[in-house]
Amino acid sequence: MPETKEIVAVNDISFSVKRGERIAFIGPNGAGKSTTIKMLTGILFPTSGTVNILGFDPTKDRKKLAYQIGTVFGQRSQLLPNLPLTDSLEFFGVMYDMPEKEIKKRIVELVELFDLSSFIAQPVRKLSLGQRMRAEVAASLIHKPKIILLDEPTIGLDVVAKKSLRDLLLKINKEENTTIFLTSHDVGDIESLCDRTIVINHGVVIRDLPTQDLAKTFVYEKYIDLVALSNFNNFPELPEGIRYSSKDKNKVTVVVDINKINVQESLKKLLYLFEVEDIDVYNANLETVIRHIYERDSTRN
């Protein structure tokens, strides 16, 4: 018999979400994001604990809950591949027991909102990835769900398609007060779309805070740009806690570990080592901050 090993995918996760919030649920690969979304939607049955969405327990009221939520899986299409997109939208309308008149009205609304008119009559299999993702989101909103759960909705999209999808999600959040619960590895999705971020790793929530506080809370490093007065001819060894990020005869960028040395002390030592015309001190970008959170947490385990 093959040896089997039980793995805990999600452990002791607890959070609540208010109506109309836009949540980024992030974590490295294998952290438990998709598993959590699947438990929230009733796809997977948790071995213990309780889930309550809009007053429903997904394990018992899966069908009732389905009328209230919309889901989009970036790696998985729900549309009918061989038929025109309009058929898929109608299909979902019928599935949610909407009257024919209401389906038609909603399709018109969604076509306008998501700018689907140029490809609404095309078979889904012929759509580009960007068009398909817009169509997927539109289909998931046919029944005006109170919550939309999106698992990596921008995966594989180009920058234009990503921005378009984010704008649309913001629009439906604003216009229909739809709660957005999103997992993504794309920092742009988190920054431009979500007002709250929950960070998960090894199946445990490690942070839950406003997205704008994410960088502030997790700044362990400062970046300092030193612009040369003339040219930097040599690059001396740096004091402990400071390392080079990039070296150029015109500009040097260093990274300061603020747990080891503060900014004031760093500047003093750097000004002693380099003749500079200008200095710029700034925080790491969100992507770096998130990487640090993941790395820090993985070294702890």
Binding site: K38, L44, K63, R76, L80, L83, F91, V94, M95, D97
Partner: protein
């Protein structure tokens, strides 16, 4: 009513989707009819050269093929999604059915349309027509045939649900479900007279293969109300068991993250 309305709508959309690929659609239907006809010709030669076994004539063989083909065709045309359960669970495509507000089994069954099974339906109707003519069926026997088509379809559907529910117990169950289905289907197409004693018991009570064609033919031939009652009770039993097995099996679903596409 809402479930039925959606199921019929989903079947309609599936047919439209299949009809989009017209050549494949027609080739499938014609191909399956030819395949089945070849099969029945073989049985005809067999019975002619070996003679009557266990009271079974060529007409009975045609009736058996008719019942089996018709219930196979009905279940695996409109409800072809059941056959894809192993594929759905292995790829994680099953997720989308769990997100549907409709009855899970109906949603899965109507997620796909088996075009080639239309050939089986045509073939089944033709066979039963010939059978009715050959045995010079009375009105009572014709009504029995209609009733038994419904009962054997119920048994076939139940067996398919049980077999394909094993998809939830294995990582990739395609070959397992395929073998189990063959174990069920192959005996149901065999000469009914070949099943006697222990074999008849096993393929009636443990594996319901004989409920598909052999027993219905014997019921029509002998106008046996005792056997009709037995088949009806077993059909109801298998249907209840299949629904329960499916519900329990779904709770074992583990999902996965392969890329998938479709209805």
């Amino acid at each position: 009513m809402k479930e039925l309305h959606f199921a019929l709508y989903a079947i309609k959309k599936n047919i439209q989707s299949s009809a989009e690929l017209r050549t494949s659609f027609l080739m499938n239907i014609v191909g399956m009819s030819i395949n089945n006809t070849a099969f029945i010709i073989l049985w005809g030669f067999f019975v002619k050269s070996v003679g009557v076994i266990g009271g079974w004539t060529v007409a009975d063989i045609i009736g058996l093929q008719g019942f089996a083909a018709l219930c196979f065709g009905i279940v695996f045309s409109a409800g072809a999604g059941i056959r894809k359960l192993a594929e759905y669970t292995a790829s994680g495509a099953f997720d989308r059915f769990m997100l549907s507000p409709k009855n899970l089994l109906v949603r899965i069954a109507t997620s796909s349309f088996g075009v080639s099974a239309l050939g089986d339906i045509v073939f089944g109707i033709v066979c039963l027509g010939i059978y009715t003519f050959l045995i010079q069926a009375t009105i009572q026997q014709i009504l029995l045939i209609v009733l038994l088509v419904a009962i054997s379809t119920m048994v076939f559907l139940s067996a398919a649900i049980v077999i394909y529910s094993t998809s939830f117990f294995f990582t990739d169950a395609t070959s397992v479900t395929g073998s189990l289905f063959e174990l069920f289907l192959t005996p149901s197409l065999f000469h009914g007279g070949a099943f006697q004693g222990a074999m008849r018991f096993i393929f009636t009570f443990a594996i319901p293969s004989l409920l598909i064609g052999a027993l219905p033919v014997e019921i029509v031939r002998d106008i046996s109300l005792g056997k009709l009652l037995l088949v009806s009770v077993l059909a109801t039993f298998w249907f209840i068991v299949s629904i329960n097995i499916f519900k329990r099996a779904v709770k074992r679903y583990e999902s996965s993250n392969f890329m998938t596409f479709g209805n």
